[in-house]
């Protein structure tokens, strides 16, 4: 069976790592012929994923010369090229509802949201996404294949060692600091608000984006094996994300005997149980989060209970081989199923487009009103009297004259006169 997975790039990221793992399982254990199709020109060299040499990596024009049983989009922008690739069936591997990655008035938000209206079959990796897709697209075939875990790399310790209070609580924060929904800096702030002794390690591949932070150690980017070792050395992973797909990092930490303090972010309900294998904290609650971490630092029996149960939870999670088998079943089912209902897809698309256009129109109206007001202020500022006032405003006599005004309404003169 020939399958093409369309990807934007092959840089180090959780999403691409999942696609690469599935592709490898399909090739190695299920006799699939798999191509990773790069849908855009590459600026940077690929991340050195160990087994990439086992896979065919094609450009979009190269892929268009082939014919596939199933072509699979893996990120909303890759759907732009999906239907250019000749295939019997088209599928969309949805790893998150990607419109949530963008601010409310970003054009990408509307674009990403519309892609789930396409006439495709869906495969997703989290129950909450599957449920959402089934609600939004009851006409479409939707299957769930959760991510596996590389049990060789993230090996589960036979016995979780007890860590007594003699050492500070080892806290790990990871994530892309430029992604607003990862809240990496909020996590670092929460650790800083702790009262009990602690040691903070931040894993981040983007030091510029991270900026200056108060951490005992900043490392990264890390390969999976290095990440596994770091989880093994940590007591707790702190995640304050507001958007997640399957929420993989805590599960990897569980495998290595670390517990997690997290928000009730989407995906957490796949395996996290508050008070059993992790602690769930409130949203935007820096001090509450710090107190949860303090509790773990003080109560090492509780810490061990959570860590031991986290490792047990990890034991019940499937590996990549099992999930690769399910992906093979899903793709064969898509190939054998009837083509998607184009009319139902078009109905969903036009309905969402209509709502999106109305939203866009209201944003544009607001923007035009602001522009109109800004124009009036600008005309006032450019008036010759105002220009003259700007020239003299820093003189001693002018400052003395305007002192009462500056006291009563600080900043008003600056706003009126401009910089």
């Amino acid at each position: 069976m020939k399958v093409a997975f369309l990807v934007n790039d092959l840089q180090l990221s959780g999403g691409i790592g999942v696609v690469v793992q599935h592709a490898l399982q399909l090739v190695r254990h299920h006799g699939f012929e798999v191509a990773l199709v790069l849908v855009r020109e590459q600026d940077d060299p690929h991340w050195a994923y160990d087994p990439l040499e086992d896979l065919r990596i094609l450009s979009l024009p190269q892929a268009c010369e082939q014919r596939y049983d199933v072509a699979v989009a893996t990120w909303w922008e890759t759907t732009f090229s999906l239907f250019d690739v000749p295939a019997e069936r088209y599928a969309y591997f949805v790893q998150s509802l990607e419109d949530r990655f963008y601010e409310p008035d970003a054009a990408e938000r509307l674009g990403a949201g519309l892609t789930i209206d396409l006439p495709v079959a869906f495969i997703t990796e989290a129950s909450w996404i599957a449920q959402t897709l089934r609600d939004l697209r009851p006409d479409a075939l939707c299957m769930i294949v959760r991510n596996g875990i590389d049990k060789d790399v993230f090996a589960i310790a036979e016995r979780v060692e007890v860590r007594l209070q003699s050492a500070p609580l080892r806290v790990l924060v990871e994530g892309n600091p430029r992604s607003w929904f990862k809240h990496v800096h909020d996590a670092i702030d929460a650790v800083e608000a702790m009262r009990e002794p602690h040691h903070l390690t931040v894993v981040c591949g983007d030091r510029v984006g991270l900026g200056d932070v108060r951490a005992d150690s900043v490392v990264g980017p890390l390969a999976p094996a290095e990440m596994a070792a770091l989880y093994g050395d940590s007591d707790v992973l702190l995640k304050l994300s507001s958007v997640e797909g399957m929420f993989g990092p805590p599960l990897e930490a569980f495998h290595r005997g670390a517990t997690c303090v997290t928000t009730a972010v989407t995906g957490n309900d796949e395996y996290i149980e508050h008070g059993w294998n992790a602690l769930i904290c409130d949203w935007d609650d820096r001090h509450g989060t710090a107190r949860a971490l303090d509790l773990l630092a003080r109560d090492r029996a509780l810490l061990h209970f959570l860590r031991a149960n986290a490792a047990d939870t990890a034991r019940g999670w499937p590996d990549w081989r099992q999930q690769g088998g399910l992906m093979a079943l899903a793709l064969r089912r898509i190939r054998d199923a009837a083509p998607p209902d184009g009319v139902a897809a078009a109905r969903a698309l036009t309905s969402d487009l209509s709502a999106g256009v109305r939203l866009y129109a209201s944003h544009m109206q607001q923007r035009n009103e602001f522009a109109h007001q800004a124009h009036a202020v600008s005309r006032l500022r450019n008036h010759p009297l105002m220009v003259r006032a700007r020239h003299v405003r820093d003189r001693r006599w002018a400052r003395a004259l305007t002192w009462p005004l500056r006291r009563l309404a600080p900043g008003m003169l600056r706003r009126l006169l401009g910089p």
Partner: protein, 306 residues
């Protein structure tokens, strides 16, 4: 040493025997209507024989990876036409042999596949075989997997790991209209009044919301709707339970006592060391020597060493 109870024998834990037998019992109406019945992973056939009323009237295909178990199953089940088949479902040729044996028998067909999928490496191939027999050859399949996520132990014999979420994934690959069931473990009790004949049947048990299943079951195929709910009771292994409970409590008590003794010994040793330290410092002060461990004493040691 953990006994994984991968094969049901007369000596198996009563709870394991009961839950295994019950699965065959709920599949019995489907099997009874079939002209051909294949028991994948038949083991010794004991649980199936306990759940069925006498020998199976049609063609019986018994499949297991262990040849001796297949022979025992054939003896226990004693059907008129039995095809014993040693087969490893991970092997494509063996799967083909199972398929051929099934198709040699008449329709309608039934397959029981209890506690097998977790032992299978090539899960897609086995699932596709079952689905193909269902769709194309008038076969009804009843399968089960354990809820590994709740056992929290790593079973060395299991190739795949199952949980409610994992079973949901599998169900998405099964034909539409399949029947889903959960098996819940029960505990019970009975009072016997001596000299009085009484009905031992317990009242019905309504599972509470959030009850955790020990196994997940799915049936698919033309007769899948014949799968019915049932419950069973069994005599608890009081001696066995008492044994491991007492062993655990005894070990815990022993270790707690040992911890107390070790802590006391540590405190005594620390106090003794403090006495010695004071005595040595007193001597050092009297002799006009720097105190051991002080920076001056360490500098002297370094000089003497060099």
């Amino acid at each position: 040493m953990t006994d994984w109870q991968e094969r049901i024998t007369a000596g198996s834990d009563p709870s394991v025997r009961a839950e295994h037998t019950l699965r065959y019992a709920v599949a019995a109406p489907i099997v009874a209507e079939a002209a051909t019945w294949c028991d994948l992973g038949c083991g010794t056939g004991l649980a199936a024989s306990w759940a069925t009323d006498g020998p199976f009237g049609g063609r019986l295909v018994l499949v297991d990876v262990d040849e001796a178990s297949v022979a025992q199953a054939a003896a226990h089940l004693g059907a008129a036409g039995t095809t014993p088949l040693r087969a490893d479902l991970n092997d494509a040729d063996d799967r083909a042999a199972v398929r051929a044996a099934m198709l040699e028998g008449d329709a309608p067909r039934a397959i029981t596949c209890f506690e097998v999928l977790e032992h299978v490496r090539d899960l897609p191939a086995v699932v596709e075989l079952l689905v193909e027999l269902t769709i194309a050859h008038e076969t009804t399949v009843v399968l089960s997997v354990p809820n590994d996520a709740f056992w929290a132990i790593e079973n060395p014999y299991h190739e795949t790991t199952w949980s409610a979420a994992a079973f949901d994934e599998l169900r998405a690959m099964l034909p539409e209209g399949h029947v889903f069931a959960e098996q819940l473990p029960l505990r019970g009790s009975r009072i016997t009044v001596h000299g009085e004949a009484s009905d031992a049947a317990p009242g019905s048990v309504e599972p509470h919301e959030g009850a955790v299943a020990s196994h997940f079951i799915a049936a698919f195929g033309p007769a899948a709707r014949a799968l019915h709910g049932a419950a069973t009771i069994f005599e608890a292994d009081q001696r066995g339970e008492r044994g491991w409970t007492r062993q655990r409590e005894s070990n815990l008590a022993y270790l707690e006592a040992e911890l107390v003794a070790l802590r006391a010994a540590l405190r005594a040793t620390a106090a003794e060391m403090d006495d010695w330290r004071r005595y040595i410092h007193d001597l050092e002060d009297r002799l006009g020597l720097p105190r051991a461990g002080s920076e001056e004493a360490m500098a002297n040691e370094r000089r003497a060493g060099s």
